[in-house]
Every structure is written in C-alpha cells, then in structure tokens.
C-alpha cells in the first residue's frame, strides 16, 4: 500500500526544511510513503522526494516590494489585503500548473510547510476532502499515524 504525501512550500525555507523534517521524524520517502514537494524554489531534496517546481510569475520591483513586506508582521498582514499576498499567490500559481494541482488533489495527505502555503493546502483539502496539516512535524506525525493504521 502506498501513501501519497504532498508537501506545499511557498518559501525557500519551507522547502529546505523538508529533508531535515523527514530525518527528524524518521520517515523514508519511498514507494510506501511517496513524498512530493510542490514549490517555486530550486532546492536540493532528500533522496526519494519528487519535486514539482512551480514557475514563479513575479519578477522585478513588485517582487522586491512583496519580499520586503514579508519581513515584518505588519508588512505581512497589510500584504494579505493586496494582490501581493504570497498566500493567495501561491494558490493561484499552483492552480495554473495542471500537474502540480492534480497531484495535490490526489494526495492522501497534504502538508503546508510554511505560512504562505496554508491557504493552498486548506482550499485543496476542502475540495478533495483529504486530510491536511499545518507544519512539517505535525504533518509527518499524521502521516505516520495514517500509515500505521493502514
């Protein structure tokens, strides 16, 4: 039996944390627990993890402003109400990528690795009616529970 786990990471940090999280939670990504990372960032991944890289659509000055706003709580929350919101943008980018979107919809478990992938995981989980967790530790703990049950 195989369990399909999709990790969504809007930030580079979230994507980079996947490998250590697998190690810390003693999860081996293989044919039994198939782990796919969906992210716009190019990061080296642990053996066995499949990476679907989203094309990043934001370039230039707006991207700089959007990044700067993420550096403070006020900036992040002001951004939430603007088109610069990376939480909403990540979901839009994911929807535009048919392979990634389908993979996420078909996952047995979704994990939002960082704050800006929460909305995407939440929306997809509502649509697919599959479990979804916030955070890598919580996510892999749930994966282990589900794997042991099945």
């Amino acid at each position: 039996m195989s369990l399909g786990v999709v990790v969504l990471a809007a930030s580079e940090g979230g994507a980079a944390a996947l490998g250590p999280a697998l190690k810390a939670n003693r999860v081996q990504a293989d044919e039994r627990i198939a782990v796919t990372l969906i992210t716009p960032h190019a990061v080296e991944q642990a053996h066995g993890v499949k990476v679907l890289r989203l094309p990043s659509t934001r370039r230039g000055a707006l991207a700089t402003v959007a990044r700067a706003m993420q550096n403070s709580m006020i900036g992040r929350n002001v951004a939430r109400f603007t088109p610069l919101d990376p939480n909403a943008r990540f979901y839009k980018e994911l929807k535009r990528h048919p392979d990634a979107y389908r993979t996420a919809l078909e996952a047995d478990m979704l994990i939002a690795a960082d704050r800006n992938s929460i909305l995407a995981a939440w929306r997809i989980a509502r649509r697919s009616r599959k479990p979804a967790q916030q955070g890598l530790n919580a996510g892999f703990a749930a994966v282990i529970r589900q794997f042991n049950r099945s």
């Binding site: 980079a16 944390a17 250590p20 810390a24 939430r80 939002a112 939440w122 916030q134 919580a138």
Partner: protein, 445 residues
C-alpha cells in the same frame, strides 16, 4: 521521608513531561522520579503527547525512564498552536492566519498572561482540583516554562491551603540572554508573578544569578528562594573512561543539544575552519552536531545552509538523539563543543552532561556565561578568550591537543570530580528540607 502515616502526595505540574523532547524535560523527569524514589506519592499533571508532535517534538524513549510508581495524568492541551488539522480551520484563519492568532493571543492573555497557553488555565486547574479531591495533595510543584504550570499550585493553595513551589527553569520577566527586564512593573505578567511569589512556599531557580535577580525584585520572598541546579542523569554516571578508539588519529568533536539562533554559529564554523588550516591534528577532524535546530522543532534554514557551506570542513548535522542512545552518542566523540547563548544567567543543562563524560570541553560562548562558574575546575576545559574566529580556532586547537593527550585516568578523575552534579544530588537536599517542613506543618495541625 516524613512521619505521615501515608506518604506525602506531590502534585507535579509539568507541561513538558515525557515523551516531550523539549528543554527542561530531563529536569521534570528527574524531579518526579527522585521524589517517588524518596517515598513520596507522586502525581504528574501533564498534557497528551499529541501536543508535543506539533510543538517541541517527541522522544518516545523517554517514556521508559518514568518510574512505574509515578502516576501520570494526561489532559488535553487544546490551544490554537496545537490545532494543526487544516480541515478544521475556518476561512478567516486560513486566509489571515497571523491576524487570527493575534486575537486568540489577546483572549489567552486575559485568562493567564502567557500568549500561547493562557486558555489552558481552566482545564489544568480543574484537573488539579479533581486530583486533590481524589487523593489530597500535600505539595504542588509547577515547573516553568510554560508559566501556566504555576496556575494549578496557586488554585489549590487558594482552595485548600496546599503549599506550592514555583520551579523556574528560565525567567518570566528577565531575558536571560540580554539580562534585561522584558515586562513593565504594572504589566499583567508582573502582577501575576507578584501574586504567585507572595504565597509560594519556595521558589526554585537553576542558578544563583537568576535567583539574585529575583531576590532584588522580590526582597520579601528572598528567604524562600533556593537554587536547584540542573545536573546529569544516571545513565551518564557510568560513562567509559577509555578513549573511543586509541588507535584512531582522526578526532571527532561533538555537540549534543538544541542549536539556538542566539549562538553565533557562523563565527564558530569559521573558527573551526581556521583551526583546521593551522593544526595538523585537526586536518581530518570531524565536527558533528546532534540535536534540534531551533526551539520549536523548526529546521532553521539558515543553520542548514551553514552546514552545507562548511561541509568540506567535516562539520555535519546529524539530527536528534533520543535519551536511550545519548550515552552511545557521547561515546563516539573525542571532545565536546559547548555552544550556548550569551549571558551570565545562562547555565544550560547540557554543561552537566558534558562534565559527566569527562571528555575535553571546548567552550565557544560568552566568557560571562553562567556555565563558566560551573566549569571552573574542570581539568580538560578550554574557553575561547573571545568570540572571534581567531580565538575560537585557538580554543579548538587546544581542545584537540587535550583530546589527543587525555588518558583514561585523567578522564576518570574528571568524572569523579563531576559526580556532584548528578541531578539526584541536587534534588535530595531540597526534598529533605521539604520533608522537615511538611512534618512541622503536620505536627502543628
């Protein structure tokens, strides 16, 4: 033990109890076990392990170390930070997560002035009162942080006159790294702490500088304050005195613990790299870091990137170590690297473990650190004279020479010198004092 017919009943409130893997859990475990070993009936009030999966992390091997005569009552810890099931989240929470959390923090603060756990107050107080109804409690100890662990002791004291002890592993109003007060004198935290201090039977601190700071703030409570230092646990008491591999010329430096962001890790790695270029005995040496990167089980991309950048120097991140394998992990090192945050209020728990092994210790931290006073007298210890690459490199080189030259007899002598820091030896005098006081209370009744 006291002269009560029934053994005295300790209610020990510890959010972070096994299988929690977070800071302070060894102290909590040892406290509960040592009281039970001394004949007390011990009930630990803690949370269901699911809470740790999403916070500090889990070390299942710790469960085997709880004495069978310690009763553990686990209750739900249903606070916002542990609700990670996204399918149960509302749209505003998923869309505006930080703003949603901010309003939740405000509500928590009104219940108890601790942002993450205030809303747990009613649940934990009710559980403590229920335990007292079933088997009357003679003493409550709450160990913090989280400071919500202090609330049940106060509630039992108000309801039934049960004495309570506040066990501070850190400080609520003092930033132990900067030495600065972090709350105003009229803040909710200050008012709550004052109230808790006023009626406490005793207040425990992990070192003298933190006690002194609180004694200045609460002079009327100073007489009831005690230092109960951390220590090392019994499994390290029989650490081998022999060299790991006397024939190997490849030295292995090790670190076990949480790597906090306050540690200047890049400077330390630069110092390590410099040392390797200057000392032939370090040319093929390894520096293995075990433990967690960050307080909440996060994975600090900055630290991970540094491991990648310095991989060619033999520095590597090896992941967490469970309590069951900690002695074996130490046995794989020739010398230890002590990396802790700055400040005279910081002792850290790992310094005692380090001393128990008898291995040479390379201290790369602030010279004002509280750990320095503990380490003074250690025969194989070197402290970086300042936190610069050059001074850190010199410390690594000196540590390498100590490691290469250390004999089994020298290591055994350090182990014997450090035996005073076995955790049990820190707790026994306090337990004896409490037994005397409780007896007196019983006689007066």
């Amino acid at each position: 033990m006291t002269s009560h017919e029934d053994p005295p009943h300790l209610l020990y409130v510890a959010w972070g109890f096994p299988p929690n893997r977070g800071g302070g859990v060894y102290r909590a475990l040892a406290t509960a076990n040592t009281f039970a070993e001394q004949g007390w009936k011990v009930t630990v009030l803690t949370v269901n392990p699911e809470a740790f999966e999403v916070t500090a992390g889990v070390d299942e091997s710790l469960l085997d170390h709880i004495r069978p005569d310690v009763d553990v009552v686990r209750i739900d810890y249903d606070v916002a930070s542990t609700q990670t099931d996204l399918t149960a989240w509302s749209w505003p929470r998923a869309r505006f997560t930080e703003l949603w959390m901010a309003q939740r923090v405000l509500r928590n603060m009104l219940a108890f002035p601790e942002p993450g756990s205030g809303s747990w107050r009613r649940t934990v107080e009710k559980a403590a009162l229920r335990i007292h109804e079933e088997t009357p409690v003679d003493l409550t100890i709450g160990t913090a942080n989280p400071y919500i662990d202090f609330a049940p002791g106060y509630a039992l004291h108000k309801a039934a006159g049960v004495p309570y002890i506040l066990d501070y592993r850190d400080a609520w109003q003092l930033n132990i790294l900067s030495g600065r007060r972090v709350t105003g004198p009229r803040s909710l935290v200050a008012r709550t702490e004052r109230k808790l201090m006023r009626s406490a039977h005793q207040v425990w601190f992990v070192n003298q500088p933190i006690l002194d700071w609180h004694a200045d703030l609460y002079p009327d409570v100073a007489g009831r304050m005690r230092v109960v230092m951390n220590g090392f646990d019994a499994e390290l008491a029989d650490f081998p005195a022999d060299r790991r591999d006397p024939d190997s010329t490849r030295l292995v430096f090790g670190y076990i613990g949480t790597l906090y962001s306050e540690v200047p890790f890049r400077t330390i790695l630069e110092g390590w790299r410099l040392a390797k270029t200057h000392a032939p005995e370090l040319a093929d040496a390894a520096f293995r870091v075990h433990g967690y990167l960050g307080h909440q089980g996060d994975y600090r991309p900055d630290a991970l990137a540094l491991f990648d950048e310095f991989a060619h120097t033999g520095a590597s991140y090896e992941g967490p170590v469970g309590k069951a394998t900690i002695a074996d992990t130490y046995a794989g090192f020739d010398a230890l690297v002590l990396m802790i945050g700055p400040g005279r209020h910081v002792t850290s728990g790992k310094v005692f473990e380090y001393m128990a092994t008898g291995l040479p210790i390379v201290s790369v931290h602030d010279a004002q650190s509280g750990a320095v006073s503990v380490l003074e007298g250690h025969a194989s210890w070197v402290l970086a004279s300042e936190m610069t690459e050059r001074a850190i490199a010199d410390a690594f080189i000196a540590g390498a020479r100590m490691a290469a030259a250390q004999t089994a007899a020298e290591r055994a002598a350090i182990q014997s010198w450090a035996a005073r820091y076995e955790r049990r030896n820190q707790l026994l005098p306090r337990i004896a004092e409490l037994e005397g006081q409780l007896n007196k209370r019983g006689e007066k009744r």
